[in-house]
Amino acid sequence: MAIDWNLYDPKGGFDELIHSPGTPRPPASNLTNWLRSLSEEEIQMRKLDAELAIIDKGVTFTVYSDGENIDRAWPFDIIPRVLSLSEWRGVEAGLKQRLKALNLFIDDLYLDQKVLDDGVVPKELIANSKGFRQECVGIRPAHGVWAHVCGSDLARDADGTLYVLEDNLRVPSGVSYMIENREVTKRILPELFENNTILPVDDYPDRLLEMLRSISPAPGPRHQVAVLTPGIYNSAYFEHAFLARGMGAQLVEGADLRVDSDDCVYMKTIQGMTRVDVIYRRVDDLFLDPEVFNPHSLLGVPGLMRAWRKGKVALANAPGCGVADDKVIYSYVPDIIRYYLGEEPLLPNVPTYRCYDQEDRDRVLACLETMVVKPANESGGYGMLVGPQSTAREREEFARLLRANPRNYIGQPALRLSTAPTLCDGSLEPRHLDLRPFILQGRDIHVTAGGLTRVAMKRGSLVVNSSQGGGSKDTWVVDCENA
């Protein structure tokens, strides 16, 4: 039995591929038509091919469970998610606008704090911010850019609007999986690339290297770039190694680096100490330099902040940029864009209630079962309440947490996330998904073509995080005009 799109029903929600039973959206029509030409066995074969390819290539992520680290094969659904180029051009412009404004905001916070004096963002929010680093005040990173790599999560609501859910500015991960997903799709569905103009994504390591070189303090054309990883037990180690290899950069751990009396950073090689110009760090701020932050950190490098402050090394992302990766600050991003750029935001925020505000808090508490409540400073989908799928007991617990620490929570009306057809037990069913594009800013600014689509594999579930049973899809930006 081949696929019958008449039987696939997104049930009134927004589906990325299918407009209504039997009618695909135009950019996806080549894909859906072709899928219909395959028998069920063929689809199963391709699915198995994909699983084998992922194991062969060793694409894994690490989960910490029962006191042990387990490398799991990356979960991947073979049916791509499709976006049209014309829609994407708008999203791209919106993401660039957003990151530019966020960087101006962070730069201002660590220099003059005009934005606070002008009352655009309340002073006490910064005073109470977990991400603000006093140690960074007065530092001027190259091009005024602090957040060099940003992963913004986008989600589409039932009416088709794409919203920004959050901006991950600290050490966003997932980009290697975006590239690997495409590699796997090219292996298992090569026919589709003949009749579709699909924007390539594998230039990312080059773009990343170009960005990192653009912030290097070294004058010459040669720059030593290193990726700083917390090590093999970090859940994103695969990605750290992937990016280092892709850029031809060194993959270093804290213990490989040393800051000398000349305040320069060196790495220990078998040929002696070699100067490092740019560090793409995938270690959290607080572990970067035991002389300045957590004194017990073994992951960091003593003196690294000193070297950075003196301009002897570039750090991406800059320490302290996490101040803008705060879900309360998030609610001010539209104002921040207007304030710094004098433009209207191109991409909307999800309406957000700030729980430190009495009125907003009461509203959130009054309708918890329709809200998503998120802590201001967590990532990975931890510590949040998804109202429509919660029990009365969980809601009570959250109400208590929220009252105890209102600054730490925001509430948002739960979106009805869009879906895409996903292979589940041999048939296609709608599953909810989001999208994480990656934005690079150094001298120039660049957005990936598409991004990483994460999909909740359980029926009805809205949680897409891979640490919590989420899967992923290849994401196509299709140029329909030049097909």
Binding site: G58, G231, I232, A241, A244, R245, Q250, L251, V252, E253, A255, D256, M267, K268, T269, I270, Q271, G272
Partner: protein, 310 residues
């Protein structure tokens, strides 16, 4: 190359070599004991001694019987030198140096590690032992061949060679030592003692895969002094200590910032040259082998200081 990565590659090669050597040693010993008359002095007790684990062994076991010893050498987690630990450490070191190694190396080490984890208990009974150990030996040889056939001859490869040859030199010296540990004094007759001696030295050759090469090269009956001399000095045989130390020197010559490492390896070479088994009794040979092992361990310290930690 980062010093840390170089160190991991070096240890990866050492642990891989150690895994293979341990499998070979237990396998040969198993067959040796089957051949010896009941009540012969040669026993399982020797293996924890020559692999340097007798103290840990004594902490955990009272009896030096076959099951305890084989379990200790192959499976026990508390024995840092057990085969299961060696392959686990080889895997750990490979995990963190994958960028420098061929992709298949990781997959094969992973497979071998899984095989050992799941099957090692089968080797405790005599019946499953041979299959398990030959399986391990074949996988190790496959990996060695892979690294040899696929890796560019750059710094990473030099550290693979260093680890392999230093570990091998050490193991060869320990295996020769089996011959000095088994004094055939308490046997009923000279004849029986000599007979056992032949079995023991034949096994030593087999443990190092040297039996056939020795026969072709020397065309002599197996005798203790000749076998020992062959394994110590024959530079053409790839498991002889001479060959191993020669290779170590070649590696030093290809590495940057080598400091006085060539001098250090020369010292061990001189110790080696002065060992003349025909002129030594068992105890004296044991002494000289001990000194040689110390020399090898000094080369290791030198490598660490020169390229890894210094």
């Amino acid at each position: 190359m980062l010093s840390r990565v170089a160190e991991r590659i070096y240890w990866l090669a050492r642990y891989l070599e150690r895994t293979e050597n341990m499998a070979r040693l237990v396998n040969t010993y198993h067959f040796l004991l089957l051949d010896l008359p009941r009540g012969a002095q040669v026993g399982w007790k020797t293996l924890p001694i020559i692999t340097g684990g007798q103290e840990i062994f004594a902490e955990h076991y009272l009896r030096h019987d076959e099951r305890n010893t084989v379990k200790f050498l192959l499976a026990d987690a508390f024995n840092p030198g057990s085969l299961a630990n060696s392959i686990a450490w080889a895997r750990e070191n490979c995990r963190t140096s994958r960028e420098e190694l061929p992709g298949q190396a990781w997959e094969q080490i992973n497979e071998l590690h899984l095989f050992v984890t799941h099957q090692v208990m089968d080797a405790l009974a005599r019946r499953g032992r041979f299959d398990f150990l030959t399986g391990v030996i074949h996988s190790c040889q496959q990996l060695t061949g892979l690294l040899h056939g696929v890796m560019s001859r750059g710094h990473a490869y030099e550290f693979v060679s260093l680890g392999r040859y230093l570990e091998r030199a050490d193991m060869t010296s320990r295996v020769i030592d089996i011959g000095t540990q088994t004094h055939p004094l308490s046997y009923r007759s000279q004849e029986e003692a000599a007979n056992i001696d032949v079995h023991v030295w034949t096994s030593i050759l087999r443990a190092l895969n040297a039996y056939q090469m020795y026969r072709k090269d020397r065309r002599l009956a197996v005798n203790d002094a000749d076998v020992a001399a062959y394994l110590l000095h024959d530079g053409n045989f790839p498991r002889s200590i001479r060959h191993c130390l020669d290779q170590v020197e070649v590696c030093f010559g290809n590495l940057p910032l080598r400091g006085n490492m060539l001098k250090r390896s020369r010292v061990a070479r001189q110790d080696l040259d002065q060992i003349k088994p025909a002129e030594l009794d068992g105890a004296a040979l044991h002494q000289r082998l001990d000194t040689l092992q110390m020399g090898i361990s000094e080369i290791h310290d030198g490598i660490r200081e020169t390229w890894f930690t210094g």
